[in-house]
């Protein structure tokens, strides 16, 4: 049963047609994305930062939950692939008029959209949409509830790979609200698939239930204990509402226990890198001098994010196109 979740994102030949979750993908798939992203980095350095791959395609950014940052990088990625981009902020349009998610979807399909980039507050929303779209439409999960944020995880892997050579040698520490973090879940899956030596999840017990270890991480509640020998430190964003719902004490107490401070980072390897999906709450989960310090690759994450998303979009769209053209494996482009 567990496999059915992941299967809907794959074509018959195993290629990605949607990108909903990292879980269930193999190393080859992830490496293909990272390698392709590497090729796209060059595109962003050209005079014309565009390639014509998705020319004539329409990408709809379907954001049921506000996120200017993520939406902007997807928009930029789509535009650099020459797609037309439609930004739809559904939280203020359809949903408030009682239109169901399926109605919204059908309407956009009727407008001949080719790709939906979906962010939704409900876990499983991207799966739901992918299982109801027509076969010519590709669905990219831009974050669903607390489930998955696979493109963010891939851009993080991209940033790690550019700074560290071999995942098999790495110890990665993820600090913060793992329970509610779709980013952390996706990172954990990706790191495991890429063969990371050790992954440690660190946070208070309220935000880090024991059964998270089933995802393939070591659970640790004491940050100082986790940091020695670490190559990569990932801080997660702390949602303020966690304080109100009795999951945490005060911001100060959190910072004292789990804040990424200069002193703490010194416990890790001297060449350790510090990452954060952003936006950062300085003084809550990370010290400003660490976020802006020499070990921080936070801005590099953002830059790589565009190339990574271009790679994912073009791989998925390409596989859909290929599957639709079916048996037409004849000629193509020869010299």
């Amino acid at each position: 049963m567990a496999t059915a979740t992941q299967d809907i994102q794959l074509c018959d030949d195993g290629g990605l047609k949607h990108f909903l979750t990292i879980e269930g993908l193999n190393k080859q798939r992830l490496t293909e994305i990272l390698d392709t992203a590497e090729s796209f980095v060059g595109v962003n350095n050209k005079a014309t930062k565009k390639v014509p791959l998705l020319r004539g395609k329409t990408v709809a950014n379907l954001f049921f939950e506000n996120s200017t940052r993520t939406r902007t990088t997807f928009e930029l990625a789509a535009k650099r692939l020459s797609a037309d981009v439609l930004n739809i902020n559904v939280s203020v349009s359809a949903a408030s008029k009682g239109e169901t998610l399926l109605d919204t979807l059908r309407n956009l399909q009727a407008m001949q959209c080719d790709m939906f980039v979906v962010r939704h507050s409900a876990s499983g929303a991207a799966h739901f949409i992918a299982s109801h779209v027509e076969p010519h439409v590709s669905v990219i999960n831009a974050g669903d509830g607390q489930h998955s944020h696979p493109t963010q995880a891939m851009l993080d892997m991209f940033a790690i790979r550019r700074n560290k050579s071999d995942f098999a040698k790495l110890k990665v520490v993820i600090v913060g609200d793992i329970l509610h973090s779709r980013v952390a879940r996706s990172q954990i899956h990706a790191l495991n698939i890429l063969g990371t030596r050790e992954i440690v999840a660190v946070g208070p017990k309220t935000l880090l239930p024991e059964n998270i270890s089933e995802l393939g991480v070591t659970v640790e509640h004491n940050l100082e204990k986790a940091l020695p020998d670490t190559d990569v430190v990932i801080g997660l964003r702390l949602q303020k509402e966690r304080m109100r719902s009795a999951l945490l004490s005060t911001e100060d107490e959190y910072f004292r226990s789990y804040g990424l401070t200069e002193d703490r980072i010194k416990l890790a390897k001297p060449d350790a890198i510090v990452m954060h999906p952003g936006p950062t709450n300085r003084g809550v989960e990370i010290e400003a001098s660490v976020a802006d310090g020499p070990q921080s690759i936070i801005l590099e994450q953002v830059t790589g994010g565009i190339a990574t998303r271009m790679a994912i979009m073009s791989i998925a769209m390409g596989n859909i196109e290929k599957s639709l053209s079916g048996s037409r494996t004849d000629s193509g482009l020869v010299n």
Binding site: G15, E32, D35, T36, E38, S39, F40, V41, G42, V43, K46, A47, T48, K50, V51, P52, L53, S314, I315, G318, N319, E321, K322, S325, R328, T329, S331, G332, L333, V334, N335
Partner: protein, 178 residues
Amino acid sequence: MADHSTIDQDEVAGWLSSMSNELQNLLSARHANKTPRIVGIKTGGVIVARELNKRLGLDDEPGELNISFYRDDFSRVGLHPQVGASKIGFPIDDEIIILVDDVLYSGRTIRAAMNEIFDYGRPERIILATLISRAEGRELPICADVTGAELKLSSHQNFKLQENLSLEIEARSCQPQS
């Protein structure tokens, strides 16, 4: 011709020499005061580009184009296995660009490559140099300025340039990239 045959290095080397001579003539006729830049199309074109670079005595590394993102068959075969990123370590604007590929056949690769070059800038001129120009099968109005040899092959066959500069003639695979 048989399904598997080879054109040896010496013959290919002869073609390369005549190509570099022709290029020199072309350049001195119109662009005597300018140093051209060489750009090869991955992967066979890059091998030819390196050879021409040597023979023309140019200093810069030839540029490399990965035209995957500019192909016109994306809607049929999807994104292609990667052959690495494009690398052009020099400006394109107002330069004389010698665009090099191993084989000119349908003309589609050259179309894609020219599109990509223009995304780097506006060259003064593009000169197309291909080791082989296939006599039949052109699908676009493109012909080479300089070519090593014009050859005829059946549409089921392909040339494949080896790193050692020999040319294999093989049956066309389903993978359309050459």
